[in-house]
């Protein structure tokens, strides 16, 4: 048992901390979020230069051979900086899907392109009306002479507007909620029949509703074994959940620091408001929530690489539920303790709060994952 980072990991953490402090200040982040594009291609290139985009890929594909703990370090820093760039969509979700399920050819073409910063991707999986059900896929892929024809609709595709290529889940057999029969396809964002309605999200990022109408994909577009996509998706989304837990923990740490600073400087009744016990105890509760969430973040990252699917998803659900509960508490109380300032757009506090709230709504909220964890008690 060891809670220390390796030298490389500590160096990575320092680099990221310096980068966020120096190059990713809150005002610059605000400008980016409001810009036409919504993120910075220069920053993305910097990420490539730092090796962040290559982190979780094997060295033979231009990667760094990192594990989920490395990703955790990146995402925690991104949480502190409220980073907008589509690291989760491109590197964590799509990158890991290609890494874990791709053919030799797919890995050889896609992973170095992601690592080099030339290729942005997005995962188009959830559909309207399916909430957080992983196996509920109505989009279809039918074989034709040249490969596949895809029809269907995907909802709230994170980073969708920026993606060059999409990974699309589609049913190649079975009924809408069958576990078997889901396949994954690599689809060009500009392919004929792909219609994309882009929008900003509450937390300053971008997403899209995407429809597929008789979209043609080649035979080589199939990612992983036909009909076996669900297990691959579950694994990638668990990896994404671990990343989101880390991002939330980073955001909570930043919020707690901001709130503590405010308690020490804001004066009312002739003294810093941090002298009032009602607020002291609230702040203590926020600290406890953040520390406990950090423990669950470690658990999530260590288990995200586990090959035992039941064990992995049980622990990832535990972490997502717990971090979601903590994030809700810390976010709401940070706003409360900042008083009127907490509900303004001007201060970064509301922006952290909104990101935490949206993280909770992504890939299953606290109730969803508590339920999944709870159901696993029946099997035990």
């Amino acid at each position: 048992m060891d809670f220390n980072f390796t030298e490389e990991q500590s160096a990575l953490q320092d680099t990221l901390r310096r980068f966020i402090a120096k190059d990713y200040g809150f005002e610059r982040r605000r400008e980016l979020a409001c810009s036409e594009l919504g993120f910075s291609r220069d920053t993305w290139r910097q990420f490539a230069d730092l090796g962040l985009l290559a982190l979780p890929f094997p060295e033979e594909y231009g990667g760094m051979g990192g594990n989920a703990v490395d990703t955790m370090i990146v995402m925690e820093a991104f949480g502190r900086g409220l980073v907008l760039e589509p690291y989760l969509a491109t590197v964590v979700l799509c990158g890991s899907l290609v890494r874990d399920s791709g053919s030799e050819m797919q890995k050889k073409t896609i992973l170095p392109a992601i690592a080099g910063g030339e290729l942005l991707m997005a995962l188009a999986h959830y559909e309207p009306g399916t909430r957080y059900e992983l196996n509920h896929v109505q989009t279809t892929a039918r074989p034709d002479a040249a490969g596949w024809v895809i029809d269907g609709a995907k909802s709230v595709v994170l980073g969708g507007p920026w993606a060059d290529r999409l990974i699309v889940s589609a049913r190649t057999s079975g009924d809408a909620r069958d576990d078997a029969g889901i396949s994954l396809f690599l689809v060009d964002r500009n392919a004929a029949g792909v219609a994309l309605r882009a929008y900003p999200t509450q937390d300053g990022q971008r997403a899209a509703e995407i429809t597929f109408t008789r979209v043609k994909a080649g035979a080589d577009a199939l990612l992983g074994a036909q009909g076996q996509g669900l297990a691959a998706l579950a694994r990638a989304l668990d990896y994404g959940i671990a990343a989101l837990c880390a991002e939330a923990v980073g955001a909570m740490a930043a919020l707690n620091e901001a709130t503590l600073e405010y308690l020490k400087t804001r004066k009312q009744f002739g003294q810093p408001i941090g002298k009032f016990q009602a607020l002291q105890h609230r702040m203590a509760d926020m600290l406890i929530a953040a520390e406990q969430a950090r423990s669950m973040m470690y658990l999530a990252s260590v288990k995200a690489d586990s090959l035992d699917a039941a064990e992995r998803s049980r622990n990832l659900s535990a972490a997502k539920a717990y971090v979601g509960q903590s994030a809700r508490f810390v976010g709401q109380q940070a706003v409360q303790l900042h008083g009127g300032m907490g509900v303004t757009d001007e201060l970064n506090v509301s922006h952290y709060f909104k990101r935490l709230t949206m993280i909770n709504a992504t890939f299953g909220d606290a109730d969803h994952h508590l339920g999944r964890f709870s159901d696993s008690l029946l099997a035990a």
Partner: protein, 398 residues
């Protein structure tokens, strides 16, 4: 970063487990696991088994008879003991007064007291709280006046856990009323057989006799039983409060109780199905389990920092708050699980030798009492509100 125990740590766990399997008497562990009442002899039986093995004082330095285990090994040992249903090792001598004697006592005190704490010959209790001094401990009034080679002690201590068994009591007493109230306190070791000491039981809400009032009326205490310097007792008391870390989270015991809760929820039925299939109830178990999973890792984080001799900070307050809340939730859910069978009050069923017919299933009798009893956990050892004051001041700097 690695949350797995090393092969050496796993081998150590196996060694501990084997020893417990071979040496913990079955009827004793059954008593503990079934929530039966434990006698003084029950505690001492296990104490002496560990003493003979040389494992009674995992937290002590080797030169005083400790095991030399690091914090992780101590944690593994605690966890295995809890899981097997070993009686709790009383902390008052081994984990509370002994470190103070080691750090601040003189050679004569160390030579006299420490071996008897190890062997179990001396059972200790803690004389801190008074009727007027709970959370505001420094306001304590029990007086000790120096007369020649003795202190004459007058006053009253309260909430004294298992004082009815104790041979010795370590007391905070007032030796001066000048200056700040913290500056007039001394740390005194008192023989419970001294004339003028009266122990009066306090019956707790579960009907059990666990705590006491202790009265001192002109009790003569040899001056050489003063630990360290006169009027420096508050420093030693704070040292003691900050010293006991391993175990404060009660992770091992709570893991055992969680297992028991799940067993009960499998055996109880609701709507003709096992209670654990009731989603509303199962989600509550799941919620406590999440809290416990997080606490287990938080506890290990604190313990590893200790292993690496990084100064352990006030994080112990976090462990105390979460650990006590979890113990309370588990006891509440176990009681809730048995429905109406929480109601019957049958204290005789808590005696191990009782042959009567239990009301309801055999596990029902102790559950409500256990729930009532566990309310103490957020009150004792510095109430959870006091712990939050400590976090505010020591960690947050408010």
């Amino acid at each position: 970063m690695d949350l797995n125990f090393t092969p050496e740590e796993q081998a150590f766990r196996q060694e501990v487990r084997r020893f417990i399997d071979d040496n913990l008497p079955a009827e004793l562990s059954r008593k503990v696991l079934e929530g039966k009442r434990l006698t003084k002899d029950d505690y001492l039986t296990w104490h002496k088994i560990l003493y003979r093995k040389g494992w009674i004082a995992p937290s002590w330095p080797v030169e005083f008879g400790g095991t030399g285990w690091n914090a992780v090994q101590q944690h593994i040992f605690d966890e295995e003991c809890a899981d097997a249903g070993a009686p709790m090792i009383m902390p008052f001598g081994l984990r509370m007064v002994a470190p103070v004697i080691m750090a601040f006592g003189d050679a004569a005190q160390q030579q006299y007291f420490l071996p008897k704490i190890l062997s179990g010959e001396h059972w200790w209790c803690q004389g801190y709280s008074e009727p007027g001094s709970g959370s505001d401990l420094a306001s304590l009034k029990t007086r000790a006046e120096r007369q020649g080679d003795y202190y004459i002690v007058n006053g009253q201590k309260t909430w004294t856990t298992l004082a009815q068994h104790a041979d010795w009591i370590f007391c905070l007493v007032r030796t001066s009323t000048e200056g700040r109230q913290q500056e007039g306190i001394s740390f005194l070791l008192i023989d419970m057989k001294s004339p003028g000491i009266t122990v009066r039981p306090i019956i707790m809400l579960d009907g059990e006799h666990e705590i006491n009032e202790v009265f001192f009326e002109n009790v003569k205490v040899p001056a050489h039983n003063l630990v360290g310097q006169e009027n420096k007792g508050w420093t030693y008391a704070k040292f003691l409060l900050g010293h006991e870390r391993t175990g404060i989270a009660a992770v091992g015991r709570s893991k055992r109780e969680l297992k028991r809760l799940k067993e009960i929820a499998r055996r109880e039925t609701a709507n003709g199905r096992p209670l654990i299939e009731d989603q509303r109830f199962r989600d509550k178990i799941a919620q406590v389990e999440l809290e416990l999973m997080a606490l287990e890792i938080t506890n290990l984080r604190v313990i590893s920092a200790e292993r690496e001799k990084r100064t352990p900070g006030p994080e112990a307050s976090i462990l105390k708050i979460k650990g006590s809340e979890i113990q309370q939730s588990l006891s509440e859910l176990m009681m809730q699980a048995v429905g109406h069978y929480a109601l019957p009050y049958s204290p005789e069923a808590l005696d191990a030798g009782w042959q009567g017919m239990p009301v309801g299933a055999d596990y029902c009798a102790p559950l409500a009492g256990h729930y009532f009893n566990m309310r103490k956990t957020t009150i004792y050892g510095g109430s959870n509100e006091i712990q939050k004051n400590i976090i505010s001041q020591m960690i947050l700097g408010l």
